[in-house]
């Protein structure tokens, strides 16, 4: 098995110089996985990755693994998986075949070669990248830049109309509370009971609820007050019916509600 220390890459943070063929197995921790080891072994063939002999590579790998096992070094499982796969590949490449398998062993070999190429390419790229002129090591930015400061200032904008309308809104918001207390005119329930009861007393026959309402003139023209009177009178009618002073009749849903005094209870 070939081992030429000069072929080892010199990587940042890694030093594999001085690795000897007979000490190769000791380096197991130095490889980043089986592919990395394969790549190193491939490079020992001293030919372009495209021209490496896969069989030779497989042999080198298997030998390496055997030696490591002979020394009872603990090998990570993926090294063994790779060994098994390579052994299979080797036998497939060597044995005569009757029919074309898919993929063919040659294809699998090419595929392995491609993976090695990819990894090799990235390894080389990394080295070239690290070798560039680097900021803070080879080239420098200005040591003491004054710095740029932008002081943000707001210029506030508001239109006259917005201002005036805002005031209107405030007023509108605050007014109704006052407004409604003052102007809310209602017929109270007590008033309605007294009024309906007294009118029932003089009524001869059924009267419609609406007829109990005050005539619509003066302040009673207010629809709100009329609504209040209607509602209160309705409740008054129910109250009088409950206490047995009146009876109610309605022929159909939403039809006119009529009431009259119950006989014998008239005052």
């Amino acid at each position: 098995m070939a081992s030429n220390p000069g072929l080892f890459d010199d990587w940042d943070g890694e030093d594999r110089q001085g690795a000897q063929a007979d000490k190769l197995y000791l380096e197991i921790d130095g490889w980043e996985g089986p592919l990395d080891l394969l790549l190193d072994l491939a490079r020992r063939q001293k030919v372009d990755l495209l021209r490496i002999s896969i069989l030779e590579l497989v042999d080198a790998y298997l030998t390496y693994i055997e030696e490591a096992e002979a020394l009872r070094l603990e090998l990570a499982a993926d090294y063994l998986v790779m060994a098994a796969w390579l052994a299979y590949l080797k036998s497939a490449l060597l044995l005569p075949r009757d029919e074309q398998e898919d993929p063919s062993p040659e294809e699998m070999a090419l595929r392995l070669q491609m993976r090695l190429q990819r990894l090799g390419a990235m390894r080389e790229a990394a080295a070239r990248l690290m070798g560039r002129d680097r900021l803070g090591r080879d080239v420098f930015e200005r040591g003491a830049p004054e710095g740029l400061r932008v002081d943000r200032k707001s210029r506030w904008q508001v239109e006259w109309f917005d201002l005036v309308r805002a005031y209107g809104d405030v007023k509108i918001r605050s007014q109704p509370v006052v407004h409604m207390v003052r102007e809310r005119m209602v017929m109270t329930l007590d008033t309605a009971i007294a009024r309906v009861a007294s009118m029932l007393g003089v009524a001869i026959d059924w009267m419609e609820l609406r007829d109990f309402l005050p005539a619509a003139h003066g302040s009673w023209e207010s629809p709100q007050l009329r609504r209040s009177a209607l509602a209160s009178s309705f409740v008054a009618a129910l109250e009088l019916a409950r206490t047995g002073k009146a009876e109610l009749a309605q022929d159909e849903t939403y039809g006119p509600l009529r009431l009259r005094a119950l006989k014998g209870t008239q005052t």
Partner: protein, 209 residues
């Protein structure tokens, strides 16, 4: 005049230029020379320093010497570029507009009064914005318990709105006429709610018309 220097600066000049550029502090000629491995005496770099100073004197940055130490700095006439003021036009928020209107209509007015009129708590920040805008100022303190700060508008406020005086703000009656104060009165509620008006009698819900 110094064209050869400008067009083909020699290596010493370039090295001095780069050294001063990258240095985090002003350097003496000796320090520059030492740094560049020209020995401990600055003699060799002095001509370069002079050339550089001449080269930069009409540019956006100058090479200046203070107390024997050299450094690059922004040309004095461009110093204003280092600190720029940027103005953002921003619309006043609704809350701030309301507070401004209240100050204008009721000034001088305390924060508690503003809150009473708005019916909402007013964040301190709102008044700050109005003061930052230059439209509202602190107009002293009211001589009542707690001596609250009172606020009033500024001349800038009148300017901004093109007003001769606060009297030119539309009165309540005008606001009403303009429909801006349209009362949320009973009739309006009536119209808005249709025939039903749940507010008035307690049991209007059961009403049957």
């Amino acid at each position: 005049m110094t064209q050869d220097v400008q067009n083909a600066p020699d290596d010493v000049l370039r090295a001095v230029e780069a050294t001063l550029f990258a240095s985090t502090e002003p350097l003496t000629a000796d320090q520059v020379a030492l740094h560049l491995g020209f020995g401990e005496k600055g003699g060799e770099v002095r001509p370069a320093l002079a050339d550089l100073q001449r080269h930069y004197e009409r540019r956006g940055i100058h090479l200046v010497e203070r107390g024997g130490r050299w450094h690059f700095e922004t040309a004095p006439d461009l110093a204003h570029l280092l600190r720029r003021e940027k103005e953002d036009v921003r619309r006043l928020s609704r809350a701030a507009t309301e507070v401004l209107a209240i100050v204008a209509y009721h000034e001088p007015v305390s924060r508690a009064e503003i809150e009473a009129i708005r019916g909402v708590q007013t964040a301190k920040g709102t008044l700050d914005v109005l003061m930052e805008a230059g439209w509202v100022r602190v107009a002293g303190r009211r001589e009542v318990p707690g001596r609250p700060v009172i606020y009033a508008t500024t001349p800038a406020f009148l300017d901004h709105f093109g007003l001769g005086s606060l009297k030119e703000l539309p009165g309540i009656d005008e606001l009403r006429a303009a429909g801006l104060l349209d009362p949320v009165d009973e009739d309006m509620i009536e119209t808005a709610l249709g025939s039903k008006n749940p507010r008035i009698p307690d049991n209007a819900d059961s009403e049957d018309d």
